[in-house]
Symmetry: C2
Subunit: 278 residues, 2 copies
Protein backbone atom coordinates (compact mmCIF):
# COMPACT_ATOMS: atom_id res chain seq x y z
CA UNK A 1 0.00 0.00 0.00
CA UNK A 2 1.46 3.37 -0.98
CA UNK A 3 0.97 6.62 0.88
CA UNK A 4 -2.70 7.29 1.61
CA UNK A 5 -3.47 11.01 1.23
CA UNK A 6 -6.91 10.51 2.74
CA UNK A 7 -5.26 10.00 6.11
CA UNK A 8 -5.12 13.79 6.59
CA UNK A 9 -7.24 14.66 9.59
CA UNK A 10 -6.91 11.23 11.21
CA UNK A 11 -6.21 11.38 14.92
CA UNK A 12 -4.65 8.77 17.16
CA UNK A 13 -5.70 7.71 20.62
CA UNK A 14 -4.30 9.74 23.51
CA UNK A 15 -0.99 8.40 24.78
CA UNK A 16 0.53 9.15 28.17
CA UNK A 17 4.15 9.47 29.05
CA UNK A 18 5.84 10.09 32.37
CA UNK A 19 9.27 11.59 32.82
CA UNK A 20 11.55 11.95 35.80
CA UNK A 21 14.02 14.56 36.92
CA UNK A 22 16.75 12.13 35.84
CA UNK A 23 15.31 11.95 32.32
CA UNK A 24 15.52 15.73 32.07
CA UNK A 25 19.11 15.80 33.37
CA UNK A 26 20.17 13.04 30.98
CA UNK A 27 18.63 14.89 28.05
CA UNK A 28 20.39 18.13 28.99
CA UNK A 29 23.76 16.34 29.10
CA UNK A 30 22.90 14.64 25.80
CA UNK A 31 22.52 17.99 24.04
CA UNK A 32 25.74 19.33 25.50
CA UNK A 33 24.75 21.17 28.68
CA UNK A 34 27.44 20.95 31.36
CA UNK A 35 28.94 22.64 34.39
CA UNK A 36 27.96 26.11 33.15
CA UNK A 37 24.29 25.10 33.05
CA UNK A 38 23.69 23.63 36.50
CA UNK A 39 19.93 24.47 36.57
CA UNK A 40 19.57 22.02 33.68
CA UNK A 41 22.18 19.43 34.68
CA UNK A 42 21.69 19.14 38.46
CA UNK A 43 18.73 18.89 40.80
CA UNK A 44 20.38 19.60 44.17
CA UNK A 45 22.66 22.59 43.71
CA UNK A 46 22.17 25.11 46.50
CA UNK A 47 19.93 28.07 45.57
CA UNK A 48 19.47 26.62 42.08
CA UNK A 49 16.09 25.26 41.01
CA UNK A 50 16.09 22.48 38.43
CA UNK A 51 14.78 23.72 35.08
CA UNK A 52 14.13 21.86 31.86
CA UNK A 53 15.43 22.72 28.41
CA UNK A 54 12.49 23.73 26.16
CA UNK A 55 13.59 21.30 23.44
CA UNK A 56 12.93 18.43 25.86
CA UNK A 57 9.44 18.88 24.35
CA UNK A 58 10.49 16.60 21.48
CA UNK A 59 11.29 13.80 23.93
CA UNK A 60 8.14 13.83 26.04
CA UNK A 61 5.70 15.04 23.38
CA UNK A 62 5.15 14.27 19.74
CA UNK A 63 3.55 10.91 20.32
CA UNK A 64 0.17 9.52 19.46
CA UNK A 65 0.08 9.94 15.70
CA UNK A 66 -2.00 7.31 13.84
CA UNK A 67 0.95 5.95 11.86
CA UNK A 68 -1.12 2.98 10.73
CA UNK A 69 -3.35 5.28 8.66
CA UNK A 70 -0.78 6.94 6.41
CA UNK A 71 0.05 3.92 4.25
CA UNK A 72 3.48 2.39 3.96
CA UNK A 73 6.89 3.78 3.11
CA UNK A 74 10.43 2.50 3.21
CA UNK A 75 11.86 3.64 6.55
CA UNK A 76 15.41 3.36 5.19
CA UNK A 77 14.54 6.12 2.69
CA UNK A 78 12.76 8.29 5.23
CA UNK A 79 14.38 11.28 6.90
CA UNK A 80 13.18 13.73 9.50
CA UNK A 81 12.32 16.90 7.58
CA UNK A 82 11.14 19.66 9.87
CA UNK A 83 10.52 19.97 13.57
CA UNK A 84 8.62 22.63 15.40
CA UNK A 85 7.77 23.00 19.07
CA UNK A 86 5.50 25.44 20.86
CA UNK A 87 5.58 25.81 24.62
CA UNK A 88 2.41 26.98 26.39
CA UNK A 89 3.92 26.57 29.83
CA UNK A 90 7.31 25.73 31.30
CA UNK A 91 8.06 22.01 31.34
CA UNK A 92 8.37 20.83 34.96
CA UNK A 93 11.37 18.67 36.00
CA UNK A 94 9.13 15.66 36.33
CA UNK A 95 5.57 14.94 35.35
CA UNK A 96 3.22 13.19 33.00
CA UNK A 97 1.91 14.31 29.65
CA UNK A 98 -1.01 13.19 27.51
CA UNK A 99 -0.58 13.63 23.76
CA UNK A 100 -2.98 13.37 20.85
CA UNK A 101 -1.39 13.13 17.43
CA UNK A 102 -2.95 14.00 14.10
CA UNK A 103 -1.93 13.66 10.48
CA UNK A 104 -2.11 17.33 9.50
CA UNK A 105 -0.79 17.22 5.95
CA UNK A 106 0.44 14.88 3.21
CA UNK A 107 2.20 16.44 0.24
CA UNK A 108 3.32 14.97 -3.04
CA UNK A 109 6.72 16.34 -4.00
CA UNK A 110 6.94 14.18 -7.11
CA UNK A 111 9.96 12.13 -6.08
CA UNK A 112 8.94 12.06 -2.43
CA UNK A 113 6.03 12.26 -0.06
CA UNK A 114 6.00 14.60 2.89
CA UNK A 115 3.97 13.57 5.93
CA UNK A 116 3.18 16.12 8.60
CA UNK A 117 2.13 15.14 12.12
CA UNK A 118 0.99 17.48 14.84
CA UNK A 119 0.71 16.42 18.45
CA UNK A 120 -0.97 18.37 21.23
CA UNK A 121 0.22 17.58 24.73
CA UNK A 122 -1.54 18.31 28.00
CA UNK A 123 0.04 18.37 31.45
CA UNK A 124 -1.81 15.58 33.27
CA UNK A 125 -1.18 17.25 36.65
CA UNK A 126 -3.30 20.32 35.87
CA UNK A 127 -5.13 19.46 32.65
CA UNK A 128 -3.65 22.47 30.85
CA UNK A 129 -2.06 22.51 27.40
CA UNK A 130 1.70 22.19 27.86
CA UNK A 131 3.20 21.96 24.40
CA UNK A 132 2.71 21.18 20.75
CA UNK A 133 5.03 19.29 18.41
CA UNK A 134 4.83 19.41 14.66
CA UNK A 135 7.15 17.34 12.51
CA UNK A 136 7.44 16.26 8.93
CA UNK A 137 8.83 13.06 7.52
CA UNK A 138 10.37 13.22 4.09
CA UNK A 139 9.80 9.86 2.37
CA UNK A 140 11.94 9.44 -0.72
CA UNK A 141 10.46 7.34 -3.51
CA UNK A 142 6.89 7.71 -2.24
CA UNK A 143 5.72 10.68 -4.32
CA UNK A 144 3.70 10.58 -7.52
CA UNK A 145 0.40 9.57 -5.97
CA UNK A 146 -1.35 12.57 -7.52
CA UNK A 147 -1.48 14.73 -4.42
CA UNK A 148 -0.84 18.43 -4.03
CA UNK A 149 2.70 19.74 -3.85
CA UNK A 150 2.04 21.85 -0.82
CA UNK A 151 3.45 25.24 0.05
CA UNK A 152 7.08 26.07 -0.36
CA UNK A 153 7.88 28.66 2.25
CA UNK A 154 11.33 30.19 2.44
CA UNK A 155 12.33 32.55 5.18
CA UNK A 156 13.89 35.85 4.20
CA UNK A 157 17.06 36.08 6.24
CA UNK A 158 18.04 39.72 6.76
CA UNK A 159 20.80 41.03 4.55
CA UNK A 160 23.15 41.74 7.44
CA UNK A 161 25.58 39.92 9.66
CA UNK A 162 23.93 37.83 12.37
CA UNK A 163 23.10 39.71 15.56
CA UNK A 164 24.45 36.81 17.60
CA UNK A 165 26.53 33.75 16.93
CA UNK A 166 27.15 30.92 19.36
CA UNK A 167 29.36 27.90 18.71
CA UNK A 168 29.10 24.63 20.60
CA UNK A 169 31.25 21.62 19.82
CA UNK A 170 29.65 18.21 19.84
CA UNK A 171 31.66 15.20 20.95
CA UNK A 172 32.77 12.05 19.24
CA UNK A 173 30.45 10.10 21.52
CA UNK A 174 27.62 12.65 21.56
CA UNK A 175 25.16 10.31 19.86
CA UNK A 176 25.92 7.52 22.36
CA UNK A 177 24.76 9.76 25.16
CA UNK A 178 21.88 11.41 23.29
CA UNK A 179 20.41 8.06 22.28
CA UNK A 180 19.80 7.17 25.94
CA UNK A 181 17.00 9.75 25.79
CA UNK A 182 15.12 7.34 23.57
CA UNK A 183 16.06 7.18 19.88
CA UNK A 184 18.17 4.01 19.58
CA UNK A 185 18.30 4.01 15.76
CA UNK A 186 21.69 2.37 15.03
CA UNK A 187 22.27 4.87 12.24
CA UNK A 188 23.64 7.02 15.07
CA UNK A 189 25.86 4.44 16.74
CA UNK A 190 26.61 1.38 14.59
CA UNK A 191 29.35 2.00 11.97
CA UNK A 192 28.23 -0.92 9.77
CA UNK A 193 24.60 0.22 9.81
CA UNK A 194 25.65 3.78 8.97
CA UNK A 195 27.66 2.49 6.00
CA UNK A 196 24.56 0.72 4.68
CA UNK A 197 22.77 4.06 4.88
CA UNK A 198 25.53 5.63 2.78
CA UNK A 199 27.44 7.38 5.55
CA UNK A 200 31.14 6.96 6.34
CA UNK A 201 30.32 6.75 10.00
CA UNK A 202 27.35 7.16 12.33
CA UNK A 203 25.68 10.56 12.11
CA UNK A 204 24.30 12.65 14.92
CA UNK A 205 20.57 12.59 15.65
CA UNK A 206 18.90 15.59 13.97
CA UNK A 207 17.09 16.23 17.23
CA UNK A 208 20.40 16.37 19.06
CA UNK A 209 21.47 19.20 16.73
CA UNK A 210 18.07 20.70 17.46
CA UNK A 211 18.77 20.53 21.19
CA UNK A 212 22.21 22.16 20.89
CA UNK A 213 20.61 24.90 18.80
CA UNK A 214 17.81 25.37 21.33
CA UNK A 215 20.38 25.82 24.12
CA UNK A 216 22.12 28.54 22.13
CA UNK A 217 18.79 30.32 21.57
CA UNK A 218 17.72 29.92 25.20
CA UNK A 219 20.93 31.32 26.67
CA UNK A 220 21.34 34.11 24.12
CA UNK A 221 17.76 35.35 23.82
CA UNK A 222 15.94 34.24 26.99
CA UNK A 223 18.62 34.86 29.59
CA UNK A 224 18.55 31.07 30.18
CA UNK A 225 14.94 31.28 31.39
CA UNK A 226 12.85 28.51 29.78
CA UNK A 227 9.60 30.30 30.64
CA UNK A 228 10.53 32.97 28.06
CA UNK A 229 11.09 30.43 25.25
CA UNK A 230 7.88 30.19 23.23
CA UNK A 231 8.50 28.32 19.99
CA UNK A 232 11.18 27.00 17.68
CA UNK A 233 11.06 25.47 14.21
CA UNK A 234 13.61 24.40 11.65
CA UNK A 235 14.40 22.08 8.79
CA UNK A 236 17.09 19.40 8.87
CA UNK A 237 19.12 20.05 5.75
CA UNK A 238 22.37 18.05 6.09
CA UNK A 239 23.80 15.43 8.42
CA UNK A 240 26.01 16.33 11.37
CA UNK A 241 28.89 14.09 12.38
CA UNK A 242 29.60 13.59 16.07
CA UNK A 243 32.54 15.85 16.86
CA UNK A 244 31.36 18.64 14.58
CA UNK A 245 31.23 22.20 15.87
CA UNK A 246 27.80 23.80 15.51
CA UNK A 247 27.51 27.53 15.01
CA UNK A 248 24.07 29.03 15.50
CA UNK A 249 23.58 32.37 13.73
CA UNK A 250 20.69 34.51 14.95
CA UNK A 251 18.90 37.49 13.45
CA UNK A 252 16.56 39.09 15.93
CA UNK A 253 13.49 41.22 15.21
CA UNK A 254 11.45 42.06 18.29
CA UNK A 255 10.36 38.83 19.90
CA UNK A 256 11.21 36.76 16.87
CA UNK A 257 14.52 35.31 15.79
CA UNK A 258 15.49 33.70 12.52
CA UNK A 259 18.38 31.29 12.83
CA UNK A 260 20.58 28.86 10.97
CA UNK A 261 22.95 26.23 12.32
CA UNK A 262 26.17 25.45 10.44
CA UNK A 263 29.04 23.04 10.96
CA UNK A 264 32.72 24.00 10.81
CA UNK A 265 32.62 22.76 7.17
CA UNK A 266 30.15 25.52 6.39
CA UNK A 267 27.26 23.12 5.83
CA UNK A 268 23.90 24.47 6.91
CA UNK A 269 22.47 21.58 8.94
CA UNK A 270 19.41 23.22 10.50
CA UNK A 271 17.84 25.68 8.11
CA UNK A 272 14.75 27.87 7.93
CA UNK A 273 14.95 28.35 11.65
CA UNK A 274 12.46 30.55 13.43
CA UNK A 275 12.12 31.03 17.15
CA UNK A 276 9.91 33.25 19.29
CA UNK A 277 10.49 34.42 22.83
CA UNK A 278 9.20 36.81 25.45
Amino acid sequence: MPINPDAVGAKGDPVRRKWSSKDALLYALGVGAGTEELPFTTENTRDVKQRVLPTFAVIIGGGGAPMNKVGSFNPALMVHGEQSIELFDEIPPEGEIESVGEVTAIWDKGNAAVLEFTSESTNVANGKPLLRNRMTLFCRGEGGFGGERGPSIKLDYPDRKPDHEVTYTTREDQALLYRLSGDRNPLHSDPSFAKMGGFDRPILHGLCTYGFTGRALLHTLCDSDPSRFKSMSGRFSKPVLPGDALTVSMWVDGNECLFQTRTQRGDVVLDQGRMTFQ
Copy 2:
Protein backbone atom coordinates in the same frame (compact mmCIF):
# COMPACT_ATOMS: atom_id res chain seq x y z
CA MET B 1 27.18 7.88 70.23
CA PRO B 2 30.72 7.35 68.97
CA ILE B 3 31.92 4.50 66.81
CA ASN B 4 30.86 1.13 68.22
CA PRO B 5 33.64 -1.44 67.70
CA ASP B 6 31.32 -4.24 68.79
CA ALA B 7 29.48 -3.86 65.51
CA VAL B 8 32.07 -6.05 63.79
CA GLY B 9 30.31 -9.16 62.53
CA ALA B 10 26.90 -7.51 62.31
CA LYS B 11 25.04 -8.32 59.12
CA GLY B 12 22.23 -6.43 57.45
CA ASP B 13 19.07 -7.78 55.88
CA PRO B 14 19.32 -8.87 52.24
CA VAL B 15 18.57 -6.06 49.80
CA ARG B 16 17.62 -6.50 46.17
CA ARG B 17 18.44 -4.27 43.27
CA LYS B 18 17.47 -4.48 39.62
CA TRP B 19 19.37 -2.92 36.78
CA SER B 20 18.56 -2.42 33.11
CA SER B 21 20.63 -2.42 29.97
CA LYS B 22 20.26 1.36 29.98
CA ASP B 23 21.76 1.58 33.48
CA ALA B 24 24.82 -0.33 32.25
CA LEU B 25 25.19 1.89 29.16
CA LEU B 26 24.85 5.06 31.22
CA TYR B 27 27.50 3.84 33.66
CA ALA B 28 29.90 3.00 30.82
CA LEU B 29 29.52 6.51 29.37
CA GLY B 30 29.93 7.94 32.87
CA VAL B 31 33.36 6.36 33.25
CA GLY B 32 34.49 7.50 29.82
CA ALA B 33 33.68 4.63 27.45
CA GLY B 34 32.77 5.86 23.98
CA THR B 35 32.70 5.00 20.30
CA GLU B 36 35.73 2.71 20.62
CA GLU B 37 33.91 0.57 23.18
CA LEU B 38 30.59 -0.21 21.51
CA PRO B 39 30.05 -3.52 23.38
CA PHE B 40 29.81 -1.41 26.55
CA THR B 41 28.08 1.68 25.14
CA THR B 42 25.49 0.20 22.75
CA GLU B 43 23.01 -2.66 22.86
CA ASN B 44 22.06 -2.99 19.20
CA THR B 45 25.27 -2.84 17.18
CA ARG B 46 25.36 -5.58 14.58
CA ASP B 47 27.45 -8.63 15.57
CA VAL B 48 28.28 -6.96 18.90
CA LYS B 49 26.87 -8.35 22.13
CA GLN B 50 26.30 -5.90 24.96
CA ARG B 51 28.83 -6.46 27.77
CA VAL B 52 29.10 -4.80 31.16
CA LEU B 53 32.17 -3.14 32.63
CA PRO B 54 33.37 -5.13 35.67
CA THR B 55 33.47 -2.03 37.84
CA PHE B 56 29.69 -1.69 37.42
CA ALA B 57 29.86 -4.06 40.43
CA VAL B 58 30.17 -1.00 42.69
CA ILE B 59 26.86 0.37 41.35
CA ILE B 60 24.69 -2.72 41.67
CA GLY B 61 26.43 -4.35 44.64
CA GLY B 62 27.81 -3.12 47.91
CA GLY B 63 24.47 -2.58 49.58
CA GLY B 64 22.91 -4.02 52.66
CA ALA B 65 25.41 -3.05 55.34
CA PRO B 66 23.90 -2.48 58.80
CA MET B 67 24.95 1.17 59.00
CA ASN B 68 22.76 1.70 62.06
CA LYS B 69 25.02 -0.58 64.13
CA VAL B 70 28.37 1.16 63.70
CA GLY B 71 27.63 4.23 65.80
CA SER B 72 27.70 7.76 64.52
CA PHE B 73 30.27 9.83 62.66
CA ASN B 74 30.31 13.16 60.91
CA PRO B 75 29.65 12.45 57.24
CA ALA B 76 31.32 15.73 56.25
CA LEU B 77 34.59 14.36 57.68
CA MET B 78 34.16 10.92 56.12
CA VAL B 79 35.92 9.87 52.94
CA HIS B 80 35.88 6.72 50.90
CA GLY B 81 39.13 4.91 51.73
CA GLU B 82 39.49 1.66 49.81
CA GLN B 83 37.34 -0.22 47.37
CA SER B 84 37.68 -3.79 46.24
CA ILE B 85 35.54 -5.87 43.92
CA GLU B 86 35.63 -9.57 43.11
CA LEU B 87 33.71 -11.00 40.18
CA PHE B 88 32.58 -14.64 40.34
CA ASP B 89 30.72 -14.44 37.06
CA GLU B 90 30.27 -11.92 34.29
CA ILE B 91 27.68 -9.24 35.06
CA PRO B 92 24.75 -9.57 32.62
CA PRO B 93 23.43 -6.46 30.80
CA GLU B 94 20.30 -6.54 32.91
CA GLY B 95 19.27 -8.45 35.96
CA GLU B 96 18.62 -8.42 39.66
CA ILE B 97 21.02 -8.90 42.52
CA GLU B 98 20.57 -9.72 46.19
CA SER B 99 23.22 -8.38 48.54
CA VAL B 100 24.02 -9.04 52.18
CA GLY B 101 26.33 -6.56 53.84
CA GLU B 102 28.47 -7.10 56.92
CA VAL B 103 30.66 -4.92 59.11
CA THR B 104 33.92 -6.81 58.67
CA ALA B 105 36.35 -4.55 60.54
CA ILE B 106 36.57 -1.38 62.63
CA TRP B 107 40.02 0.06 63.27
CA ASP B 108 41.19 2.84 65.51
CA LYS B 109 43.80 4.93 63.74
CA GLY B 110 44.09 7.39 66.63
CA ASN B 111 42.85 10.46 64.78
CA ALA B 112 40.36 8.51 62.73
CA ALA B 113 38.22 5.40 62.65
CA VAL B 114 38.24 3.05 59.69
CA LEU B 115 35.04 1.09 59.00
CA GLU B 116 35.15 -1.84 56.64
CA PHE B 117 32.03 -3.26 55.00
CA THR B 118 31.84 -6.38 52.88
CA SER B 119 28.84 -7.19 50.76
CA GLU B 120 28.16 -10.52 49.04
CA SER B 121 25.86 -10.37 46.03
CA THR B 122 23.96 -13.21 44.42
CA ASN B 123 22.44 -13.23 40.94
CA VAL B 124 18.73 -13.64 41.63
CA ALA B 125 18.17 -15.27 38.21
CA ASN B 126 20.29 -18.34 38.99
CA GLY B 127 20.98 -18.13 42.73
CA LYS B 128 24.75 -18.12 42.18
CA PRO B 129 27.28 -15.77 43.75
CA LEU B 130 27.92 -12.94 41.29
CA LEU B 131 30.25 -10.51 43.03
CA ARG B 132 31.67 -9.19 46.27
CA ASN B 133 32.32 -5.58 47.27
CA ARG B 134 34.56 -4.51 50.11
CA MET B 135 34.97 -0.90 51.02
CA THR B 136 36.35 1.16 53.85
CA LEU B 137 35.21 4.49 55.14
CA PHE B 138 37.84 6.72 56.71
CA CYS B 139 36.15 8.78 59.43
CA ARG B 140 38.31 11.68 60.58
CA GLY B 141 37.94 12.70 64.20
CA GLU B 142 36.37 9.40 65.25
CA GLY B 143 39.46 7.52 66.46
CA GLY B 144 40.65 7.14 70.05
CA PHE B 145 37.96 4.73 71.18
CA GLY B 146 40.55 2.21 72.35
CA GLY B 147 40.33 -0.17 69.43
CA GLU B 148 43.09 -1.91 67.52
CA ARG B 149 45.05 -0.06 64.88
CA GLY B 150 44.67 -2.80 62.33
CA PRO B 151 47.10 -3.97 59.70
CA SER B 152 49.09 -1.56 57.56
CA ILE B 153 49.75 -3.33 54.31
CA LYS B 154 51.82 -1.70 51.62
CA LEU B 155 52.27 -3.19 48.20
CA ASP B 156 55.79 -3.57 46.89
CA TYR B 157 55.74 -2.02 43.46
CA PRO B 158 58.46 -3.54 41.26
CA ASP B 159 61.58 -1.50 40.78
CA ARG B 160 61.13 -1.10 37.06
CA LYS B 161 59.18 1.01 34.61
CA PRO B 162 55.51 0.04 34.29
CA ASP B 163 54.80 -2.75 31.83
CA HIS B 164 51.84 -0.76 30.50
CA GLU B 165 50.56 2.77 30.81
CA VAL B 166 47.20 4.02 29.60
CA THR B 167 45.99 7.61 29.79
CA TYR B 168 42.36 8.65 29.64
CA THR B 169 41.23 12.24 29.96
CA THR B 170 38.16 13.00 32.05
CA ARG B 171 35.86 15.83 31.07
CA GLU B 172 34.84 19.03 32.74
CA ASP B 173 31.35 17.63 33.09
CA GLN B 174 32.37 14.05 33.87
CA ALA B 175 30.87 14.11 37.35
CA LEU B 176 27.55 15.43 36.03
CA LEU B 177 27.21 12.33 33.89
CA TYR B 178 28.67 9.87 36.40
CA ARG B 179 26.31 11.00 39.13
CA LEU B 180 23.31 9.84 37.10
CA SER B 181 24.47 6.31 38.00
CA GLY B 182 23.41 7.03 41.55
CA ASP B 183 25.75 9.09 43.76
CA ARG B 184 24.19 12.57 43.82
CA ASN B 185 26.49 13.96 46.53
CA PRO B 186 26.71 17.67 45.64
CA LEU B 187 30.42 17.63 46.49
CA HIS B 188 30.77 16.47 42.88
CA SER B 189 28.53 19.04 41.23
CA ASP B 190 27.73 22.07 43.39
CA PRO B 191 30.56 24.66 43.50
CA SER B 192 29.35 26.21 46.76
CA PHE B 193 29.07 22.83 48.49
CA ALA B 194 32.54 21.88 47.27
CA LYS B 195 33.94 25.12 48.72
CA MET B 196 32.45 24.25 52.10
CA GLY B 197 34.30 20.95 51.87
CA GLY B 198 37.54 22.84 51.27
CA PHE B 199 37.80 22.34 47.50
CA ASP B 200 38.14 25.08 44.91
CA ARG B 201 35.58 23.35 42.77
CA PRO B 202 33.61 20.10 42.68
CA ILE B 203 35.79 16.99 42.66
CA LEU B 204 35.26 13.81 40.71
CA HIS B 205 33.66 10.80 42.38
CA GLY B 206 36.38 8.41 43.59
CA LEU B 207 34.38 5.59 42.06
CA CYS B 208 34.43 7.38 38.71
CA THR B 209 38.24 7.35 38.82
CA TYR B 210 37.91 3.70 39.81
CA GLY B 211 35.79 3.04 36.70
CA PHE B 212 38.24 4.80 34.37
CA THR B 213 41.03 2.75 35.89
CA GLY B 214 39.06 -0.48 35.54
CA ARG B 215 38.52 0.25 31.83
CA ALA B 216 42.25 0.66 31.34
CA LEU B 217 42.91 -2.65 33.11
CA LEU B 218 40.16 -4.45 31.21
CA HIS B 219 41.30 -3.34 27.77
CA THR B 220 45.01 -3.77 28.46
CA LEU B 221 45.04 -7.05 30.37
CA CYS B 222 41.80 -8.85 29.48
CA ASP B 223 41.55 -8.08 25.77
CA SER B 224 38.34 -6.18 26.67
CA ASP B 225 36.68 -9.41 27.84
CA PRO B 226 34.91 -8.84 31.19
CA SER B 227 34.77 -12.60 31.87
CA ARG B 228 38.57 -12.52 32.32
CA PHE B 229 38.48 -9.71 34.91
CA LYS B 230 38.52 -11.30 38.36
CA SER B 231 39.21 -8.67 41.00
CA MET B 232 40.40 -5.12 41.58
CA SER B 233 41.26 -3.16 44.69
CA GLY B 234 42.74 0.22 45.44
CA ARG B 235 42.93 3.12 47.86
CA PHE B 236 41.70 6.63 47.11
CA SER B 237 44.63 8.83 47.98
CA LYS B 238 43.94 12.29 46.50
CA PRO B 239 41.03 14.06 44.83
CA VAL B 240 40.64 14.19 41.06
CA LEU B 241 39.22 17.29 39.38
CA PRO B 242 36.89 16.86 36.42
CA GLY B 243 39.02 17.50 33.34
CA ASP B 244 42.10 15.79 34.78
CA ALA B 245 43.96 13.23 32.70
CA LEU B 246 44.33 9.87 34.44
CA THR B 247 47.34 7.69 33.72
CA VAL B 248 47.12 4.10 34.88
CA SER B 249 50.53 2.43 35.36
CA MET B 250 50.53 -1.37 35.44
CA TRP B 251 53.11 -3.90 36.61
CA VAL B 252 52.12 -7.41 35.61
CA ASP B 253 53.23 -10.67 37.23
CA GLY B 254 51.43 -13.72 35.87
CA ASN B 255 47.72 -13.23 36.42
CA GLU B 256 48.20 -10.40 38.85
CA CYS B 257 48.75 -6.71 38.20
CA LEU B 258 49.78 -3.96 40.56
CA PHE B 259 48.65 -0.54 39.43
CA GLN B 260 48.60 3.12 40.32
CA THR B 261 46.56 5.94 38.81
CA ARG B 262 48.06 9.43 38.57
CA THR B 263 46.83 12.78 37.30
CA GLN B 264 48.75 15.03 34.92
CA ARG B 265 49.93 16.89 38.06
CA GLY B 266 51.72 13.73 39.17
CA ASP B 267 49.35 13.14 42.10
CA VAL B 268 48.70 9.48 42.82
CA VAL B 269 44.92 9.38 43.15
CA LEU B 270 44.29 5.62 43.26
CA ASP B 271 47.07 3.85 45.11
CA GLN B 272 47.87 0.35 46.34
CA GLY B 273 46.11 -1.03 43.31
CA ARG B 274 45.96 -4.75 42.75
CA MET B 275 44.02 -6.54 40.05
CA THR B 276 43.75 -10.19 39.03
CA PHE B 277 42.71 -11.62 35.69
CA GLN B 278 42.57 -14.86 33.73
